[in-house]
Amino acid sequence: MKSLQEIQAIRDALHPELELRHVGSTEANSKYERHVLICGGTGCTSSGSPAIEKALHEEIDKAGLTDKIQVVKTGCFGLCALGPIMIVYPSGAFYSRVTADDIPRIVKEHFIEGNPVKELLYDETVAEDGIKSLNDTSFYKKQHRVALRNCGAINPENIDEYIGKDGYQALAKCVTEMTPEEVIKTVLDSGLRGRGGGGFPTGRKWQLARDIVPDADQKYVCCNADEGDPGAFMDRSVLEGDPHVVLEAMAIAGYAIGASQGYIYVRAEYPIAIERLRIAIKQAREYGMLGKNIFGSDFSFDIDLRLGAGAFVCGEETALMTSIEGNRGEPRPRPPFPAEKGLYQKPTILNNVETYANIPQIILKGADWFASMGTEKSKGTKVFALGGKIKNTGLVEVPMGTTLREVIEEIGGGIPNGKKFKAAQTGGPSGGCISPENYDVPIDYDNLISIGSMMGSGGLIVMDEDNCMVDIAKFFLEFTVDESCGKCTPCRIGTKRMYEMLDKITKGKATLEDLDKLEELCYYIKANSLCGLGQTAPNPVLSTLKNFRNEYEAHVVDKKCPAGVCKDLLMFSINPEKCVGCGLCAKNCPVSAISQGDYTAPGKKRAAYVIDTTKCVKCGACMDNCRPKAISKG
């Protein structure tokens, strides 16, 4: 159990070390000469960071630098495409795609001799005259890190480092200086809205949970860490890189609404996050940041972990609660809302990880500071998981109101291979596809909804001209059908029928009437489903129908897939003028649909091959194996 004074002493003691972790830091009071930060997030871990960490320790020991260099395993830096990532401070040298074999050289040349190994650095950070700050790279320049501020900056398994970054100061401020009402007012005034999907004002949620059942004997604070959108991983990154921020924020929420118990519902598929949370909870209990009489006050609060078991619907708040109660994760009708009857029928609030990650900062820096960022109705920043056809895949945090163009072109580095931007998908299976005409719309909750998508948890998948929008819609519907809980009729049967209609379209068997029927069914499912999953499931279809109707019509009327994705509408053909008659295509055809024809083009020695389109299963094996590129699809 640590007192406030002890916590502050820890913070002050660590200050020089953490200060060293800035590019060009001149901090002189740190114990170490250098800090080497190596990413221990899921992305870098699977691309080999544990082996690098091991090699680092070995080489540093060998070189006798153990006292001079501190190796810190952090959470995600965000630039997952370049992993494994390693940053050396104070120089700020940013090593990307590091392998264990590179380590001896880096230790020798950089750590001993003082010359960063330029060819192993991320090319954008290499300037003529030395190393550019990471913050000057296009990826980081426009970012503004609030929720992610500690990710990649501290060792998430060490509570002291969190404390060194003002950790638990906000909780201390709340329980020792503020009334619960003041805490709620601060959150309310900040304009923070839920980062998990709907964008409900967080302060309002807390206020309801505080006021609606004044005599409740028990209340709960829950954290939704069941991030399930395919392509979104910001919550995982926060849990892996800065787990204490979630614990602190939940304790603050508990203080604000009058709850003494919290639950974090985290995906079982996030083993690193779970492990770090376990460590964090243990440390926080040891320090008295969780438990009885926090900071000597009469406020007590503890947190338990609950693991999800592979059901996307459990991201829905009532389903999450039924799941924690030990049931099938089926949503319940609202009202009553969780603020009135939530977990075990008690008043409950549920916020997601990213929402919580903003709270301590808001308490410490004030509502006005937070509200100064963003747009009129969407304050603060938003983390996006950039993915798909984009150069810099990874996590980015930008102020609300940044345009799609800025995120994709400037931060994301644009679309690779000179392809054209076609659409951006936000909001996962609940969201929609944004077309190029909305490239310059400032991204916030309300704008996204008005252009037929939604913020969702922040997945942002970029698509280029090679993506078929009908196929994308079908992909999301397949996901929804798999993940529907099966409780209500519209979602259980309706999404299945939507999927079947889309399948029919991609097979060229649909009529224009079917398109209208599909659209009608979409609106029906939206208006009639029990929970958010069903209510938003048609969004990928509706938004593509709206923005890319011509592409649907091409499938239906012309029986063509313009992007060349939908197999059944593809036709493979061999250009006899280019075919050299080698027969490799025929050899590789799994169904013997290719044979040699009669025609020999001028200048060619052998007759060209032809494809029997009635036998062809459109696997593309012929095209992959054709050396003169004589085979085309369309």
């Binding site: 079982a268 609950r306 693991l307 999800g308 078991a309 592979g310 059901a311 799941s323 924690i324 109660e325 030990g326 049931n327 099938r328 994760g329 089926e330 075990y344 809980c485 197999k567 590789n588 799994p590 169904v591 299963v617 459109k618 696997c619 593309g620 094996a621 992959d624 194996n625």
Partner: protein, 163 residues
């Protein structure tokens, strides 16, 4: 008819003791079922009727409720995975080249249905979608090994490699 796995239940007394320990540790927790099932699956590798029954008896929760929960979540498994997991591609290219027959043959030879595991725990069998090896169709994988251009007659030889 009860859906029973073809693998006889080989739970040990140790596993049972461990399971009861887990249940005991959660006895004051109203939402204990999920963590108990998750940990039981860690102990046994899967959640066959015998394990669910023990949980049902000990926790006083109807077996059907437990089964309903288990079948709701993708992560829970009613069947053990074999030492060698055979995955037969039933994608279009493989299917038209007869992977369906190969799948049937495997079910026949191994005396299990798709999704199940042989009694000795050696082989489990599943169907998968296109693995992108259409040029080799029909294809199956055994753990990491890929076998292509198969005929029904190859099945015995492939299995023999793992005997």
């Amino acid at each position: 008819m009860a859906k029973k796995t073809t693998v006889p239940f080989n739970g040990t007394a140790e596993q049972e003791a461990k399971l009861y320990e887990i249940i005991d540790a959660h006895k004051d927790d109203p939402g204990a079922l999920m963590p108990v099932l998750q940990q039981a699956q860690e102990v046994y590798g899967y959640l066959p009727i015998e394990v669910q029954k023990m949980i049902s008896d000990k926790m006083g929760i109807p077996l059907e409720k437990i089964y309903g929960v288990v079948t709701f979540y993708a992560q829970f498994s009613l069947y053990p995975k074999g030492k060698y997991n055979i995955s037969v591609c039933l994608g279009t290219a493989c299917y038209v080249k007869g992977s369906g027959d190969i799948y049937d043959k495997l079910q026949e030879v191994l005396k299990i249905s798709g999704g199940e595991c042989t009694a000795d725990g050696k082989f489990s069998l599943e169907a998968c979608r296109c693995i992108g090896a259409c040029g080799l169709a029909p294809v199956l994988t055994v753990n990491e090994d890929v076998y292509g251009r198969l005929t029904v007659d190859d099945v015995a030889d492939i299995l023999a490699k793992y005997e």
